[in-house]
Symmetry: C2
Subunit: 265 residues, 2 copies
């Protein structure tokens, strides 16, 4: 038994879709979440800036003595994970590897699509992770506008603007005949239905959910599960707390279940 | 004569539309530009975060001993200008007041529209600035998606996505019968033609241009114009320099005419 918390961080609020899955899969665990809402988005920035921000996010979460940290940000998981894994003495789980494994297990025709931020797309991280476990071909597309569209509430299944943008983004990947599509950014599950409508018959892989399942395996195998006797979940952000709580429900699927505190680096 | 530089800062790259106007109106002046590309956008953040960032931007530019600073960011000009004006001993010109004055002089039916970021819209800054010089009515709309659309290159005059978003944003303002529309964010001049198509007969006010004209008046009246004998323009950014130079042309209308340096706060 280990009642220390699980740390989770994201560039902003999108990582709450991973927290939603984590809470469902590991309901007895305490979560300390940090969303860098003062500097979101990461996916349009350079690898060196993404790494610098990821280090500050890690430094902050490490103060809470976590037993593991989930990097619920596809961009950091793709661009900076190896470096922070070697820099910090804690179990770190990103959202790339487990999603790649699940996609390789799921595809029947050996053609996998990945949609993500620009930085993730450029990194080729999902392609490399799939290549480590399978011979499947990977076709990747950057969908940078999905993040502001989701953050601005353009999320209804029939939203004309988001459908138009999504159709443009998905076409080159769907044209390759993929039967499996990795949602490589934690913002994307919010518009999963809309994406599914445009990609009929394609299996969608939620990278946050796969990472949560992977984390459960790790905690179980190492005897690190909590017995539920711990404090409440805590949420930290780098911009105003009230702005965060207002939109959090859209990502979490329920109201925030803990105190939200603004921090300054 | 005063050959010290003019400092210009913006949340990112959008402020280059103001530099474009400034260079045309005051071609003999040296410009030191700072774009906070590592933390853009500002317009979706809270007033306290916007002020904190604006102070860091000011601190950076003050190192170059500027004779004046142009705040080429509609959000900072709306949310934080009074505070930084009282905190720094330098002439500071924002993009709100001069645009409000020009709009008041331009309107014939006394109905002025303003489009801007969410933070600017909430601040009511343009409305207050118009009220100081005229009895015109002001109708304001937040257009948060314009910034990512512009930054992602959705800028062609007939771009379907941007037209759809713009039609939604502009409708409530145009329905009020405005004959004058202030582009209250320095990203917006890039899609001026598209906006003009959707607002036939409406005079568009470029807030960066009006601020540059105001700055020229200030320098002229106070004998602070340069004689042109100074160093080259310099550009500083908080994310990678190469990403900045690639898209700068879209905003500046020409290639960057000076060295670009990445800084770390």
């Amino acid at each position: 038994m280990d009642n220390r918390p699980i740390g989770v961080f994201d560039s902003g609020i999108g990582g709450l879709t991973a927290v939603k899955e984590l809470s469902a899969i590991l309901p007895d665990e305490e979560i300390v979440y940090f969303g860098d809402t003062g500097r979101v988005p990461y996916g349009t920035r350079s690898p060196e800036t993404i790494l610098a921000y990821a280090r500050e996010d890690m430094d902050f979460l490490m103060k809470y003595n976590p037993k593991a940290i989930m990097v619920a940000c596809g961009t950091v998981s793709s661009v900076a994970l190896q470096t922070i894994k070697s820099d910090y003495d804690v179990k770190i789980i990103g959202v790339v590897k487990s999603a790649a494994k699940k996609a390789a297990e799921t595809t029947r025709n050996g053609r996998i699509g990945v949609i993500s931020t620009g930085a993730t797309h450029k990194s080729g991280a999902f392609k490399k992770a799939v290549a480590e476990v399978s011979d499947a071909e990977v076709f990747s597309a950057a969908c940078p506008l999905f993040i502001p569209l989701v953050e601005n509430g353009y999320i209804e299944r029939d939203n004309k603007v988001t459908r138009l943008v999504a159709a443009d983004y998905l076409a080159p990947v769907l044209d390759k005949g993929v039967d499996t599509l990795i949602l490589g950014c934690t913002h994307f599950p919010v518009i999963k239905d809309l994406i599914a409508d445009l990609a009929p018959g394609v299996a969608l892989i939620d990278s946050g959910k796969e990472a949560a399942l992977h984390l459960k395996d790790h905690l179980t195998e190492n005897g690190l599960l909590s017995d539920g006797r711990h404090g409440a979940n805590r949420y930290f952000v780098s911009d105003a707390a009230d702005g965060f709580s207002k939109v959090a429900k859209m990502f979490l699927g329920r109201d925030i279940d803990g105190e939200i505190t603004k921090i300054t680096f």
